[in-house]
Structures are given as C-alpha cells and as structure tokens.
Amino acid sequence: MTAFGKLIRTTAFRLTLVYLLLFALFAASLLGYFAWNTRRLITEQITTTVNAETSEISDIFGRRGLRGLVFTVDSRALRPGANLYLVTTPAGQAIAGNVGSLAPGVMGTSGWSETAYRRLDDQDNVDHRALVNVTQLSGGFRLLIGRDLDERRRLFGIVAKAAQWSILVVVVLGIGGGVFVARRVLRRIDAMTGTTRRIMAGDLSGRLPVGRSGDELDRLAESLNAMLERIETLMAGLKEVSDNIAHDLKTPLTRLRNRAEEALAKSSCEAEYRAALERTIEESDGLIRTFNALLMIARAESGQARGNMDDFDAADVANGIHELYEPLAEDDGMTLRVRTSPAPVHANRELVSQALANLVENAIKYGKPVAAAQGSVVSMEARQILIEARCDGDRVFLSVTDHGGGIPEGDRKHAVERFVRLDSSRSRPGSGLGLSLASAVAILHGGELTLGDAHPGLVATLVLPLRVGHHDGLAAQTQDMSQKDVRLASA
C-alpha cells in the first residue's frame, strides 16, 4: 500500500472528508438562502417605490394635465441616480423621460416586466436590464417607471463569489486538517505496529511509545504496556518453570532410559527383564507424580482453583489428615498427634487437605530426630509430630511440627521453591514439590506458608485467612486432642 493510500484509508481522514462535505453543504445552503432573500428584498423595494411614484405621477397628470406630467417626469429624470421614466403619446411617440430605447412591445403591455433598455444619455451602447411598470393614463398616454437591476446583479455576484471562496477555503482547510490529523494518528499507529511486530518477533522487552497528551491513544498504549509487562513476567516465570521441569524431569527420564538400555544389553533371562520393566514402571509412576504435582502447583498459582471454594472447618481437615497418616507415622516409629480448635475457612478443601498431607508426609520423611537416625535411643517426645489447627485474630493456622533436623534459617525461603530438595534429603524419594505445592495453595487463598524453628525441628505453618464473619467467639474454646486417645473405640 502506498503512503498516500494508507493516509486516505485512515479513519481520521475519512471522518474529515465526511465533515468537509457537511460543512460545504451547510455553507452553500446558507449563502443560497442569503442570496435568494436579498434578491427578493431588492425586488420588493423596487416595486414598492415604483408603485408609489406611478400613483404620484398619475395624480399629477390628473391634476395638472400633460404639461405638469412632462415637467415632473423630466425634472425627476434628470436627478442623479434617477429611476427610469418614459411617457409616450397615444401614437407611441416619446415626449418625456430618460429612456432612449426599449425592447419592442414593452410599452404596449401594461403592468410589470423585466426588459433590456438604454438611457438617453448612455454613451456606451450597452443594453442594461430594468424592472419596469407600464401604466395606461387617460387620453391614450402611457407612463413607464422602472429601476435598473444592475445593483441586484452586482449583489448577487458578490454573494456568488463569497460562496466560491468560502467553499474553496473549507475544502482546502478540511483536506489539510484531515491529512494532518490522519498523518499524526498514522505515525503513532505505525510506531505501535512497529513495536508490536518487534514484540511478536520475540523481543518481549519492547514497549509502546506513550505521549504526554494523555489522549485515547496514550491510554491505549499505557494499558497495552501494562499487559506486556504482565506477559513478560508470566513468560519469565514460565521459562523458569520450564527450565526447572527440564532439569528435574530429564534427570529421572535419563535414569529411566539408561536402565532400559542396560536391561536390553545385559539381561539374559525373563526374570531380569521383568525386574527391569518393573523398575521402569516404578520410575515412570514417579515421573507422573512429579508431573501431577507440577500441574497442581501451576493450577493453584494461576488461580484457576478459586471456583471450588467451600466453607469448612480447617480443624476437620487436620483431624482427617491425622486419621489418615497416624498409622503410617506409627509404623515409622513416630507419633502423630493432633490438636485443634475451630478454624473456619472459605477455601478449596481438596487443595488444603493435600497441602497439609504434604506437610505431614514431609514431617514423617524428614522429621526423625537426628539422634534416632544415628541409631541412638530418643524419647517419645522427640518422636512426636503435631498437627495443629487454630485461629488467631483474622487468620487460621494449620501447622505441622516435628523434632527432626529442621531447616537452617538461611535455607527456609529457598526450600519453598519448586524442586528444591535440600542436600540432606537428596537420597530419599519424593518429587521435592511438597513444600512448593503447600506454598502455592496458601498463596492461592491469600495466605502464606511459613517455616519456623521448633527447637529442634521444623514447624511448617499454612496461614489462611479466617472465613469472613467468624472473627469472634472462637478462640475461647480449645480442645486439646493430644491429651486424650484420639483413637475412638468402635461405635
């Protein structure tokens, strides 16, 4: 498309053309109305004065006879800028007045007519036009009184000229303005298009130019820039995630492949093949779990899970998770306790359960007392893991406390990140996503995951906002489940 073609296709230019046409029409009709009215006014004026003079002169003829008539007409005809006068005898002979010649037949018909004429004293041999009134006087004499129409024509000419000029000016100004506005808009749109092309080509750091005028294009550019900012952040996050995924999924995938290769190369009997295949399935199950956890985190982080929020008591979740994991902990030589007080929340129950389950699994896996891991005898106290649900102020705390090695203060922030498995836990199974998922769940609900020191050990707390409308009257009643046997007898 040529530059001109682009220009005349702009909305601004097209709008200008429409307005131009409208203004031209307006000016033309205004001037036309003016010209027509002026002409009517002049004609009216002429007829009024001519009529008055005709009756005045007819009167004089009636009172003073032919001499009076001729005298009056001749004396009036000699005044400068005089009207047209002509008096003829019944034979058609001119006896008074200032008209030299007339179009034939004008004197023969009474009443108003427009005619060409020449004055007696005219030197230039040019016909003029006049509006005349012919009257039959008594005795066959005829009287013509009229007025030159040059004045009317001149006025009309002035108006026509004004119309021409004004339309020309409107057109020139309109097109000029249109081109100016269109080019201005076009230049800015072109700049925006250029930037977006660069961004589409992969340079996400590009931003649209924003002017100082704060007009609609600036506002558009500003919101587009905000959008680009958000996209860039998301892309950066995505890149980080995909880097992490690449790293932490490729490692087990490589292991998987190596084992399969080794089995192909070295296995000699069905049992060996079977063992290799079983390991392969185990490894891929682990991969699927990691993948699921990642998807879950991504979903929690993107806020998609907000649709599935219920009102429930976090204490029920704590009791449920305790019930589920208590035998497992016991098998592992640990004691899992729960202590709850009412903690109403508005949250995604499934996600909160899973987050708490992750914390408990972590505590069972890594929360063994350091001395026990080294084979020494440790007290029951040190082997205890406590799940706690309570509310304080406008927040609900779901915490899991163990008395294991804990996490050094400097590492705590780091530990919540995806895939981080602190060196001490590298050798144990797990995707390293438990804490990140718990953190993502907390953030989704407008809370946070905090890690603290249990002297010794780790206390991991899911902080969630208290359900709206439950700020009072709950903190009072606290039932200490840890003191009584939570294993209820069969009802």
Binding site: R274, L277, I288, R289, N292, L295, M296, R299, Q304, A305, G307, N308, G320, E323, L324, Y325, P327, L328, D331, N348, E350, L351, S353, Q354, A357, N358, E361, I364, K365, P429, G430, S431, G434, R487, L488, A489, S490, A491
Partner: protein
C-alpha cells in the same frame, strides 16, 4: 476375538491380572488408535468383550444401540466431545455406567466430568489394573450386595446398621474408619479395589499420596480380621490393589 499375535506383549500383565467379575460388554470410545487397541486387547485378554468407537458421534450411536455394561469414554474426542456424549446419552434416558478417561486430571475437571453424568473419572496416564478394577466395580452386573444390610464373606460378617463385625464366633472391634474400609471392601467382595479407589471412596481424598498410607491401614485391618484365622480373606493383588474373598477362586 482374542488376538494371539499380541499375546506376548500382554503376557506380563495377564499373569497377575484377571477379570474378577463375570464377563462384561464394554464400549471404549477413544480416538487415539494405539491406546484404544491396547485397551481392547487388554480387556479381551482378561475375559471381557470390548468394542471400539473412534469418535464421539460413532460412540454415541453405538452406546445407544448396543447393550453395554460400562462405557469407557475419552474426554476429548473428535466430532463430539466426551462430556457432550454423556449428556446426550443421559438425556435419552440411557443410564449405562460411564468411566471418563482424561488427560485433564485436575480436581475441577473431575467434578465437571461427574456433574456431566459420568460415574467415575480416571486421569491419564493410568495403570490398566486401575482401569480394570474401576470398570468392574462400575459394571451394573455388580450392583448386587450394595442394598443388603449385612455383608458376608466366608465366616466374616459385617452388619451395616448396628456397625457390628464378627468373624465366626468372635466379635471384632474396629475403629470407625476401619469399619468403613472393610465395608467398602466387602461391598465389592470378589473384586479388585485399588489404593486410589480406597482413598477416594473411604477417605474422600482425590490426591495421590507419595507414601504407602493405604497399605498401612490395610495391614492394620488385616491384623484384626485375618490374624489367628486359618483362611485369610483380605488378599493383596500384586500390581493392582486389594480384594476380599473367600478362598482361592
């Protein structure tokens, strides 16, 4: 219809997997040719009859004309997606149990699937053992004992109303959760139930624990109902899950 050609490929699985319910007629609606063929062969190998539909419209037509015990429906299908297929079936009054297979394994998607009229939901990738166990539990040929107030397996008896459990003459004391676990197992006596099915149906959790929590609960239950008796009733089905049954079938 059994295909010998691929028998070898499935041999490893068939050695420890077998249909634990009477023969069923299944319709698999899945557009991925390879997984569909795999499923059809696998189901036939364990003794069920399986038909295949490659897209949503074909699947709907077959589901409406044929008498199937369970439909296995992929969520994303060409021509008509899985959920709309189920919706159309239900609208026409067809109550055949449907298991939805989906690559979308998220909680919301499962809820959406079940709301659309599905009876169970299994995210991909899945183990065939898991699918088989779920399909057999879904099948309408196995609705029998669910309405009874007392479940019996061998000399083990569970009264659903009075919450009493007895084996022979011995009264057993179970915790509430152990009772529900046993109740679920006995409701599906003779059928394999997987760990995830137990977690979903007994505990109502839909996440995948990274640890063997369910195994520990089962071993506790086992120590109460089988310990000290000659014939064990609660069996571990390797690679699949658990089954409660009387003696060796």
């Amino acid at each position: 219809m059994h295909e010998k050609r691929d028998g070898a490929m499935l041999k490893g699985r068939s050695t420890h997997l077998a249909a634990s319910s009477p023969q069923m007629r299944l319709l698999i609606i899945e557009d991925d040719r390879e997984s569909a063929d795999y499923l059809v062969k696998a189901f036939r190998e364990v003794g069920h009859v399986a038909d295949l539909a490659g897209d949503g419209e074909e699947g709907l037509a077959m589901a409406e004309s044929g008498e199937y015990d369970v439909l296995v429906v992929d969520r994303m299908l060409p021509r008509r997606d899985g959920l709309s297929l189920i919706g159309a079936l239900r609208e026409h009054g067809n109550r055949t149990p449907v298991l939805i297979l989906s690559a979308l394994g998220q909680v919301d998607d499962r809820i959406k699937g079940l709301r659309a009229g599905g009876d169970d939901y299994l995210p991909k990738p899945y183990a065939f053992a898991e699918l088989l166990a779920r399909v057999e539990v879904l099948s309408r040929r196995n609705v029998g004992p669910s309405e009874e107030t007392t479940y019996r397996v061998g000399d083990l008896e569970l009264d659903r109303l009075s919450h009493r459990v007895a084996r022979g003459k011995d009264e057993l004391t179970l915790q509430p959760r152990e009772f529900r676990l046993l109740e679920y197992l006995m409701k599906h006596a003779g059928q394999v139930v997987t760990r995830t099915m137990l977690l979903e149906n007994v505990w109502d959790y839909h996440f995948d624990p990274q640890t063997n929590v369910i195994d520990v609960h089962i071993s506790r239950l086992r120590s109460k109902i089988d310990k000290g008796f000659d014939r064990p009733l609660l069996h571990t089905i390797r690679g699949a899950g658990y089954m409660i049954r009387d003696g060796i079938r």
